[in-house]
């Protein structure tokens, strides 16, 4: 095949996917930036260039800051917890545990359910007085508490749902990696007299690093991408205590119909995701062991 034919084939094969990607990923990314420097068109007034006005409004918007900090707390809580649990679960179902396959099923099932369904089920679980959680706490003689209705516990309740849903998903990847590890490693280490914890810390964990990185990338994206449960369970309340960034964008964009400000908020979200990507690349360069 001639060089030109190679070029032509390459480009033509790529064209349909590239066109769609350009239209629904690259163009909207640039469009978001463009919008963030313009005003929202109102009745009788079209959109005009407003410089950094939207960004100034953003800095003065306490709800934005709260949603950002909520989202960081949410990410900081759910990511390590679900990854840690996933690793534990994987080692459990990888070992010679009684009822291993049943356990694996129990851990993994939440992954298959839509977040929206999961949120409905948990909403009932958290219902004041009537829900299962209240029944349990009142059985122990604790006072009744509105779990989703009070500022101090609402975000924690959402985090519990997320960890419950995601840990089993991440477990699968750890399980795959563990099953690929040679048993000779453990035998050799045992002969050398390494303790169980030492073996995990110095052999298993480093070997799982590529998996951890893959899972981490997924967890970070999900922490900023998935707000279905906020829509169902709290709608950002009480008093913005569960306002997450993407949910706030949804509210501004589609309930207050202010696309310019929503675009400005989206830029912040894109910057956060970009920073996460950069951080992970740096991390990848230095710490990950490749096979």
């Amino acid at each position: 095949m001639t060089r030109t034919a190679q070029w032509l084939y390459g480009w033509l094969l790529l064209l349909p996917a590239a066109a769609l990607l350009a239209l629904f990923t690259h163009y909207p990314t640039v469009g978001t930036l463009w919008q963030s420097f313009h005003s929202t068109p109102r009745a009788g007034r079209s959109s005009v260039y407003v410089g950094a006005d939207n960004y100034r409004a953003l800095i003065d918007d306490p709800i934005f800051w709260q949603s950002l900090s909520n989202n960081l707390w949410y990410a900081g809580g759910t990511i390590p917890l679900s990854i840690g649990l996933a690793l534990l679960m994987a080692t459990w179902v990888n070992g010679r545990l009684a009822g291993r396959s049943l356990l694996r099923l129990a851990y993994f099932t939440p992954t298959m359910l839509p977040m929206i369904a999961v949120a409905n089920i948990w909403l009932f679980f958290y219902t004041p007085e009537y829900g299962l959680l209240e029944k349990l706490t009142s059985a122990f003689g604790l006072p009744t508490h509105n779990w989703l209705g009070s500022k101090s516990t609402a975000l924690g309740c959402l985090m519990a749902v997320t960890v419950w849903k995601e840990a089993g998903f991440f477990m699968i990847f750890y399980l795959a990696a563990l099953q690929q590890m040679s048993p000779n490693l453990a035998e050799a280490a045992a002969i050398e007299g390494a303790s169980r914890w030492y073996f995990f810390r110095r052999v298993t964990f480093p070997l799982l690093m590529p998996t951890t990185l893959f899972v981490l990338v997924n967890a970070v994206i999900n922490a900023f991408r998935l707000v279905d449960h906020v829509v169902v369970m709290t709608r950002g309340g009480p008093d913005n205590a569960t306002e997450l960034l993407l949910y706030y964008i949804y509210e501004i964009g589609f309930r207050f119909w202010d696309p310019a400000y929503a675009a400005t908020l989206t830029i912040v979200l894109l910057v956060v995701l970009g920073l996460a990507a950069l951080g992970q690349f740096g991390f990848l360069e230095r710490r990950v062991h490749y096979r």
Partner: protein, 276 residues
């Protein structure tokens, strides 16, 4: 799989098993609770007595209270359309990246990978504007379009195509196959397990997707199940939990049943999709 020298022994093993099962019970509890509520009359939804009568009335009520049949059709159409387009587009693009030398290949691949971080779920404001401009708002096509060129699919298939031995490729070409015939006769058959894995992941993702469909649809004719369920439980029902839970189980049933039947394939597919 074997016990190995570092498996817990004696009392430690007992503690480990017990903890693992306790977590397992916690993980399955909300589901069992949902099943209990859905299959019993309302007055037993939080009273756990063995004599409680079983009933399907909640399911019947839920089914008649909202156009779930239509939502089912919409979701199936949506998933099928997205998957068909993804398989074709990603196969062609992956073949280009894995097999052809052309200027801009590296840059274009990097541009594709951008979508792994900047997923369509995040670009809702601008994509809504685009759909309005295209006159596609409130259609099933609009829900699917942003997801059809999937960076994840392209990446996964490119990695797979790269492992195809050069000899097979050359042999096919000596036989007189055109590049597209080589793709169809050599590459695609060899990647079958990856296609299965990708399909399962894609269908379960789009069956469950919610925020974008919620934004871009507003009629029964285009709403998928997830949005239909939310509209139903948020407005129509007050707080009749038995019916809401029944509706919830109803909408997840096909996926859940498929998962329980083909557990091994599902788990292996998710594993395969994760290992690059």
């Amino acid at each position: 799989m074997s016990a190995g020298p570092y498996a817990a022994r004696g009392a430690a093993r007992g503690v480990e098993t017990a903890t693992a099962w306790l977590v397992g019970a916690l993980w399955i509890l909300p589901l069992l609770y949902a099943f209990w509520t859905a299959f019993h009359p309302g007055e037993f939804s939080t009273r756990f007595v063995l004599s409680a009568p079983l009933t399907l009335a909640n399911f019947v009520k839920a089914w008649h209270a909202a156009p779930f049949a239509r939502y089912f059709v919409n979701t199936v159409l949506l998933c099928a359309m997205i998957l068909a387009m993804q398989l074709v587009l990603c196969t062609l693009a992956a073949y280009a990246f894995a097999h052809f030398e052309f200027p801009g290949r590296g840059l274009l691949f990097a541009l594709v990978l951008v979508q792994l971080m900047v997923t369509p779920d995040v670009l809702i404001v601008e994509n809504y504007r685009t759909m309005s401009a295209l006159g596609l708002r409130d259609t099933i096509v609009a829900i699917g379009l942003p997801y059809m060129a999937s960076a994840f699919g392209i990446f996964l298939l490119r990695q797979t195509f790269k492992t195809v031995p050069k000899e097979l490729d050359e042999a096919a070409r000596v036989e007189g196959c055109s590049p597209l015939q080589v793709l169809w006769k050599v590459y695609v058959p060899l990647a079958k397990p990856v296609y299965l894995a990708y399909s399962l992941v894609s269908v379960s993702y789009h069956w469950n997707n919610f925020l974008w469909p919620l934004i871009v649809t507003n009629s029964v004719e285009s709403r998928p199940l997830t949005v239909g369920l939310q509209v139903f439980s948020a407005t129509d029902q007050g707080i009749d939990w038995s019916i809401i839970t029944a509706a919830t189980l109803l909408t997840t049933a096909p996926l859940l049943v498929a998962f329980l039947l083909f557990q091994r394939q599902f788990v292996q597919s998710f594993m395969r999709a994760g290992i690059k």
